[in-house]
C-alpha cells in the first residue's frame, strides 16, 4: 500500500471513465490526458484501463509501504524518489519506506502516476474515477492509504512511450461541431486565425478561454454534449467541455475536439496559448 503524506494541489484517482450513464446525466470522467495515463499503465505492464493518480500542477508526497514498480507520464514535475531525481516515461522500483515527491512544474499541467497492479480503489457504477458526489471522494487527502492491485492483473507487453510533442504544441485538433454552420464569416475567421489563452476558469469540467469572439443570438434546445465539445455563449465566450462536464447543454456546439485535442488541452494551464487546428 501507499500512504499519502501530502495530497498535492488536486490529485485524483482516474481510469478510462464511466460509460453508459450519460443518459442519466453522469459525466464520463476519466484521465484528462488519456495518452499519458495509458502510457504510464503500459510501462508498468498494466492494462490501459487500470486506475492511475492524476496529479495537477503541484504533486503529492507518497510513502511506499511495499515493493512497487511505478512510472510517471505527462507533465514534467521534477519527481524524486528520496534523493534520486526521476525522469518521466521510465519504470522505477520503490522499496518499502521510500518516498516519492514532486517539485517544480516544468512543462504541462497534469502528470500521471501508474503503479504495477493499478490502484485498487472502489469501483462505482463501473469506474474507479473520482467524481463527487457520484463517488464519495473528491480528491486525495493527507493520511489516505491507497491499496495496490494484484500484480496478476498486469500482463500487457511493455509499450513505447509517446513522444513529449504533446507538451510542446499549441495546436489543438478539432472537428467542426454540430452548430459550426451557424458561425458568421467573421466568427469563423476569428476561430481559424485566433491565438487564444486559457483563462483562470479551467478545471476537469471545462476550460474557458480568455479571448471572446463576436457575439451571437442563436438559441437552441438542450442537447447532448461530449468531452471536447466547444460551446459558444451568446456574449462570445468560448467554453471547452472536459471529462467531468455535464452531459447536456444549451449553447451552440461550434467545434468538437478530437481525443488527441482533449489530451493536449489537458496539459495547458491558465495563460497558456492555443490555436484551433480545424479539420
Amino acid at each position: 500500500m501507499i500512504k499519502v503524506l501530502n495530497p498535492g494541489l488536486f490529485t485524483t484517482i482516474q481510469d478510462t471513465g464511466r460509460f453508459r450513464l450519460r443518459d442519466k446525466g453522469v459525466p464520463v470522467s476519466g484521465a484528462m490526458d488519456h495518452r499519458a495515463a495509458t502510457t504510464a499503465n503500459l510501462l508498468v505492464h498494466n492494462l490501459p484501463e487500470a486506475a492511475v493518480l492524476e496529479i495537477t500542477m503541484t504533486g503529492p508526497v507518497l510513502d511506499f509501504e511495499e515493493h512497487c514498480s511505478f512510472a510517471i507520464c505527462g507533465a514534467l514535475m521534477s519527481p524524486k524518489l528520496d534523493e534520486e531525481t526521476l525522469e518521466n516515461n521510465r519504470v522505477y522500483k520503490a522499496n518499502p519506506g521510500q518516498k516519492l515527491k514532486f517539485g517544480r512544474l516544468q512543462k504541462g499541467y497534469r502528470a500521471y502516476l501508474a503503479v504495477a497492479g493499478g490502484f485498487d480503489t472502489d469501483i462505482v457504477l463501473g469506474s474507479r474515477s473520482w467524481y463527487f458526489p457520484v463517488t464519495s471522494r473528491r480528491q486525495l487527502k493527507k493520511g489516505d492509504v491507497l491499496q495496490v492491485g494484484d500484480l496478476a492483473n498486469s500482463k500487457q507487453e511493455k509499450a513505447e512511450a509517446y513522444p513529449d510533442v504533446f507538451l510542446h504544441s499549441d495546436y489543438i485538433e478539432a472537428y467542426p461541431g454540430p452548430e459550426y454552420g451557424l458561425l458568421s464569416d467573421r466568427q469563423n475567421d476569428q476561430l481559424h486565425k485566433g491565438i487564444f489563452k486559457v483563462s483562470n476558469e479551467n478545471n476537469r469540467m471545462a476550460y474557458q478561454l480568455h479571448e471572446k469572439i463576436f457575439r451571437h443570438e442563436h438559441s437552441m434546445l438542450t442537447s447532448a454534449t461530449l468531452p471536447g465539445t466547444v460551446q459558444l455563449t451568446p456574449d462570445g465566450r468560448i467554453i471547452i467541455l472536459m471529462k467531468d462536464a455535464q452531459t447536456t447543454g444549451g449553447y451552440p456546439r461550434i467545434l468538437q475536439l478530437s481525443d488527441r485535442g482533449i489530451a493536449m488541452l489537458s496539459q495547458k494551464k491558465a495563460g497558456d496559448q492555443l490555436i484551433f487546428a480545424i479539420k
Binding site: L221, L226, R253
Partner: protein, 244 residues
C-alpha cells in the same frame, strides 16, 4: 403516425447527432424514444443520449458516419417494425410545508394566488421528462401550467439541499444533489432520484412522466427513513405507447 424529417450530422469523429424538428412536443419525444430502442437493438455498443428534439449516438472508437447514416435512414423508414418503447409514470411525494418552501410565500403574493392553490396546480399537472443532464439525475421537465411560470431568483442560492423542488421560468424539477441553484424553492421530496449505490442509479428515463403528490412533514420524515434504508418504493405505472 407520420415520419418526421430527420437531420443527421457528425458530432466529432466518434458521435452522430440526429435531430427532429425544433419543437418541444411529446409526439416528437416518443418518436425519439422509439427510434432509440430500435437503434439499441441493432447497435448494442452505442451510447445514446436523448434530449428534447435530438438523439446523440456515441461510439467508443471513430465511426464511419456515412455508412451509419445510410443504415439509420433505412431503419427509420421501416418504422412500423419498431419495438414499442416502455415508458413509466412516476408518482413522486413532495412536502410543500415549511421549512422546505422558502420561496412559496413570495410566489403566492406575486401570482395573487393562495399557497394552497399553487400546490394544487403543481400537483395536478403531468410532467414529461424531456432531458436528463446538468447534474446526475437532474430532469428537464415540460408541462408546468403557465400560471406557475415564474422567473429564476436574481441571486442564486449557494447551496440548495438535495431533494429541493423548485420553479425556474417555465421549468420545474428536483435538485438531485446539494448544489448552487437559482430556482424558487417550493418544496422538498424525500426520494432520491439519483443514488450511486443503486444499479441503475436513476430509474427515471427521458420520455417518462412525472406527477407530484403532497405529503406532510411527518410523512416526509418517514419516507426519508424508508429511502435511506432502501425499502421505499416509488409508485409507478407503465404507460401505453401511443406509437404502438
Amino acid at each position: 403516425m407520420s415520419l418526421y424529417e430527420l437531420s443527421y450530422r457528425p458530432f466529432g469523429n466518434k458521435a452522430l447527432l440526429i435531430e427532429w424538428p425544433e419543437q418541444i412536443e411529446e409526439d416528437i419525444l416518443n418518436d425519439i424514444i422509439g427510434f432509440r430502442t430500435a437503434i439499441a437493438n441493432l447497435y448494442p455498443d452505442l451510447e445514446m443520449v436523448p434530449a428534447y428534439n435530438s438523439l446523440t449516438l456515441i461510439a467508443s472508437t471513430p465511426m464511419d458516419h456515412d455508412l451509419l447514416i445510410s443504415d439509420l435512414v433505412s431503419l427509420y423508414a421501416r418504422k412500423e417494425k419498431m419495438v414499442v418503447a416502455k415508458r413509466k409514470l412516476w408518482n413522486i411525494p413532495v412536502c410543500y410545508d415549511a421549512p422546505f418552501c422558502p420561496d412559496l410565500p413570495e410566489l403566492a403574493v406575486s401570482k395573487g394566488m393562495s399557497e394552497e392553490a399553487i400546490v394544487e396546480q403543481h400537483t395536478s399537472a403531468t410532467y414529461t421528462v424531456y432531458a436528463i443532464g446538468f447534474l446526475p439525475g437532474f430532469m428537464y421537465l415540460g408541462g408546468m401550467p403557465e400560471t406557475l411560470h415564474f422567473p429564476r431568483r436574481e441571486h442564486p442560492r449557494l447551496k440548495v439541499p438535495r431533494g429541493a423542488v423548485g420553479i425556474g421560468g417555465k421549468q420545474t424539477g428536483i435538485y438531485p444533489q446539494a448544489s448552487p441553484g437559482g430556482w424558487n424553492l417550493i418544496g422538498n421530496s424525500p426520494i432520491r432520484v439519483f443514488n450511486p449505490e443503486n444499479d441503475p442509479p436513476c430509474g427515471i428515463s427521458v420520455g417518462d412522466q412525472i406527477r407530484f403528490y403532497a405529503i406532510d412533514k411527518d410523512m416526509h420524515e418517514l419516507f426519508t427513513i424508508q429511502v435511506e434504508s432502501g425499502v421505499f418504493q416509488i409508485k409507478t405505472l407503465e404507460l401505453d405507447d401511443q406509437s404502438a
